[in-house]
Symmetry: C2
Subunit: 294 residues, 2 copies
């Protein structure tokens, strides 16, 4: 009863006047797989027509910001790159902001390399050089590029022991080589199965190198801080809308924003009871409840 | 000065009459790479001539016990399979003892499959079916063998995302599927570099599945308990000799045996100060100091 009551309160309780900036997690909030979640388009158009700023926040490092814009366009969401905050972009910005402009070894997909290129940071793409395992007997002879000053690791469906080894060598032999993860998500769902995520891909390198990466993905707040800094946002005027207590809601709260949980993704209503320390400001059945349609 | 004094005490202090059973870690103790450590052969012959039992304990799951016997023979050490306790054998014994006799998915090298075959447990060898990454788009269609009831993971220089995914699916969808690691060593040294070890290979599967494996390798004491049970050994009459505080010495102490650290491998003298809780009974410069040569 309390939950029901609370939920009704919450869904009718989002006072749009309180917020200027609406930060949406994407998968599980605005779409699921390739299908838009009902109401998603309406909400975004309504917010923009009221002069609100809308941002799209993703832990996915598979795509660059430009590729995200194209993906959104396919779902009929019109956005520009300034509205996109994805972890591939965040990794490149992190290195750029910290003046770590040397060559990067990237494990992941092309989004990372594209975002590094956009800020002029050269990279050695593991997917181009180490997509197959090099036989153990030949691994000792693999030359290590001395110009590499950072390792960036994201979800990589072509992860190999050779890539893990190369990253481990770089990090192990030189403590000044930076170590960045685009996200540490344990899993992500496909239509059929749960797949090992970015957190699984970086785990062997953490173990092998004995080092912990700087994580630029949610729940770390770097992407929110970057938005706030870049656009002069007041975090108290930001509402983060997400489907995952452990990434989206922690991210919003950690960055000083208010948070709304939608139940169309990974978090179920019961999870709220299990994590009393991670309570969002609002709980919505779906993004459609953000603004009553009447 | 204290260290020097203590070491002299220790090296002259090993009273052979106290022990019936001498358990040797191999790499870093008896040999390094392909070279025998000076004194290794002499010590083993001396112990055996005094009627002592000698065992060889290895976290390596690359080889079967029979293959270990052949490897020892190349180094002029005459042993039989009963003297070998390696983690490939231990994994097979663990499943056998726990009546988990269904099909096993093995990530690692052929030692595991050979030891499983020796106790009649069928296996699906990942190295034969998943040594290359299956494209992401086709992964959803990979059929999962419903007869698999356990996943065994060791060091695998041909680890791929596909293998990680397959193991994750098996463990994630069915809590009754057993999960065994042959060792959780973070790294192992080659002649040239530090390589990610068995612990790095199992890490992505731990993250992806959200489950912790039963580790049969050191420092877990299963291999020592197995020896004690199998041969009716009195642990107080056992001396474990190893080069690694965090595997060998913990293993010996955990199983109730006395321990001797040799300084010819990974542990340096200074490490002893850093880990006051893991003190061996004896510290020897090398295995050669176990019995004075006079």
């Amino acid at each position: 009863f309390f939950d029901q009551f609370r939920m009704v309160l919450m869904t009718t309780d989002v006072d749009l006047d309180q917020y200027d900036n609406f930060l949406f997690d994407c998968d599980g909030v605005l779409w699921k797989g390739t299908a838009i979640i009902p109401g998603g388009l309406r909400i975004i158009k309504a917010l923009e027509s009221q002069g609100k700023k809308v941002f799209y926040i993703s832990n996915n490092s598979m795509l660059s910001r430009e590729q995200y814009v194209a993906k959104l366009a396919k779902l009929m969401i019109k956005a520009n790159t300034d509205q996109i905050m994805c972890s591939s972009y965040a990794a490149a910005q992190y290195l750029f902001e910290n003046r770590q402009l040397g060559k990067v070894y990237t494990i992941g997909q092309e989004g990372i390399a594209m975002e590094l290129a956009a800020v002029g940071i050269p990279c050695l793409e593991s997917r181009l050089v180490h997509n197959h395992n090099i036989p153990r007997a030949e691994l000792d002879d693999v030359a290590i590029d001395p110009e590499i000053t950072a390792v960036v690791v994201g979800y990589d469906p072509e992860l190999t022991y050779t890539k893990i080894s190369y990253a481990t060598w770089l990090l192990h032999q030189n403590p000044s080589v930076a170590f960045i993860s685009t996200n540490q998500d344990a899993t992500f769902p496909s239509a059929v199965r749960v797949f090992p995520g970015g957190g699984a891909c970086v785990a062997p390198i953490i173990v092998g190198s004995g080092r912990q990466p700087v994580n630029v993905g949610k729940p770390a707040t770097y992407m929110l801080e970057l938005l706030i800094r870049r656009w002069g946002l007041n975090p108290k005027r930001c509402l983060m809308i997400g489907d995952n207590l452990h990434t989206d809601i922690l991210f919003g709260k950690g960055g000083g924003a208010d948070t709304a949980l939608v139940l169309t993704g990974v978090t179920q209503r019961d999870d709220l009871k299990a994590y009393p320390d991670i309570q969002p400001n609002f709980v919505l059945s779906s993004v459609d409840d953000l603004i009553p349609s009447r």
